[in-house]
């Protein structure tokens, strides 16, 4: 197998990568480390963090968005040139804050801080991002151009981040009809549907 993906046993910041692999029908070794194993594995990672993608020649690429972009561009889920690819990456870049805040929310233990963070997440972060994404998507049904790119798969992940903390998952996209359609489109893809059904059920 050419690729090995290293991450914790969860979706987190590796799941967009796994969606890309699934959609593209590309095999990879899906290595998942539990928290107890992590201290031993940490020194093997280029910058002590995961996810990391190991290539066939042993080269290790860190950075979840860097990896997703590399695979997206390699497997036809991107644009025709460097500028188009950068446009697509810029769209995903805008989703990073939502993912970061979602992650921070998950791990926040202080009740007061968590409440404040959640309010900001639900009232500001999610709506301002989804508003813009919905506008992009309204033209041709995809976030960029008129075909599915890795940005659309990354959006599915962003949607999961948003719904993890939202009181009513199914209603989040009611205000964003184009995104609602996009979410269904992604989930109805045969490969994605199979992956979502079979992937390990994890807390995050």
């Amino acid at each position: 197998m050419s690729y090995t993906l290293y991450y914790f046993n969860g979706r987190g910041s590796a799941e967009a990568i796994r969606l890309i692999f699934a959609y593209a029908g590309v095999e990879y070794k899906d290595v998942r480390y539990e928290q107890e194993e992590w201290p031993k594995q940490k020194p093997k990672m280029p910058f002590g963090k995961m996810p990391v993608l190991e290539l066939a020649d042993g080269k290790m690429i860190p950075g979840s968005m860097v990896i997703a972009r590399y695979l997206g561009e390699k497997y036809g889920l991107a644009g025709a040139d460097a500028v188009e690819n950068a446009e697509i990456c810029g769209i995903v870049d805008a989703m990073v804050d939502l993912a970061k805040e979602g992650g921070a929310l998950f791990f926040e233990e202080d009740k007061d801080r968590k409440e404040k963070m959640l309010k900001k997440y639900l009232d500001t972060t999610i709506p301002s991002l989804f508003d813009k994404l919905n506008q992009l998507c309204s033209k041709d049904g995809y976030l960029w151009g008129s075909k599915l790119t890795w940005a659309d798969l990354a959006f599915h992940r962003a949607f999961e981040y948003a719904s993890a903390h939202h009181p009513d998952k199914e209603a989040i996209l009611d205000k964003y009809p184009a995104l609602k359609t996009l979410r269904s489109l992604v989930e109805q893809n045969e490969n994605i549907a199979k992956w979502i059904k079979e992937r390990p059920k994890t807390k995050f």
Partner: protein
Amino acid sequence: LAPPTNCIIKSIFASLFSASCSATVLKNIAMPSYKLVYFNIRARGELTRFVFAQAGVEYEDYRVSDWAAEKPTAPFGTLPYLEVDGKRVSGSTVAARLVAEKHGLAGKNDVENAAMAGVMDAVADYQTKFFECLFEKDEAKKAEKTKDLNEKHTPLILGKLNDMVAGKFLYGDSPTWVDLGAYLVFNDVAKDDNIQKTYGKFCGVLKEVENLPNIKAWMEKRPKTDMDI
């Protein structure tokens, strides 16, 4: 002049004129028109400005003064974004990476470029932690974050970067956008005597970046801003 000579002179001029026209047209096709849109500070705009400077590529260094008026037109209501021939690329690292890869400040292929972007990702991550620590208002949390930074994050990343040094710069004797990014994030941290002693090779790279003629020139002529970031 007799008609034949006149014709010859005319046709020489005509061919020179069209040759220079073609050259201009070719030049305009080859070189995109760039506009970087950011605030009048260094922060997240400076890496792309450094890349443009080192690559010797012209661009419009647009600094927003009325953000309220401009915000609705920014792709995601955020800055920086880079306009390239009318297309808009959002995000500081995405923009810097595009310019670097297009103008000789990155790797030789997609794998090398991804590996470099991965290193920059780690550097950017560190910068986020640094700022989170700096701007933390809760005293107890701040102390905890500072301890983590000094004992874990800073040594880890500096150690890795130091081990990577492959010449005058991180990847050999030519600079890449990763060297420029590392300079912007670590230049102040690296002034510490202990850091200089422990991570000598990496600190050497930062000095080399500072001494690049194009970078020197940019740092001298860039606008002085109110904020020191």
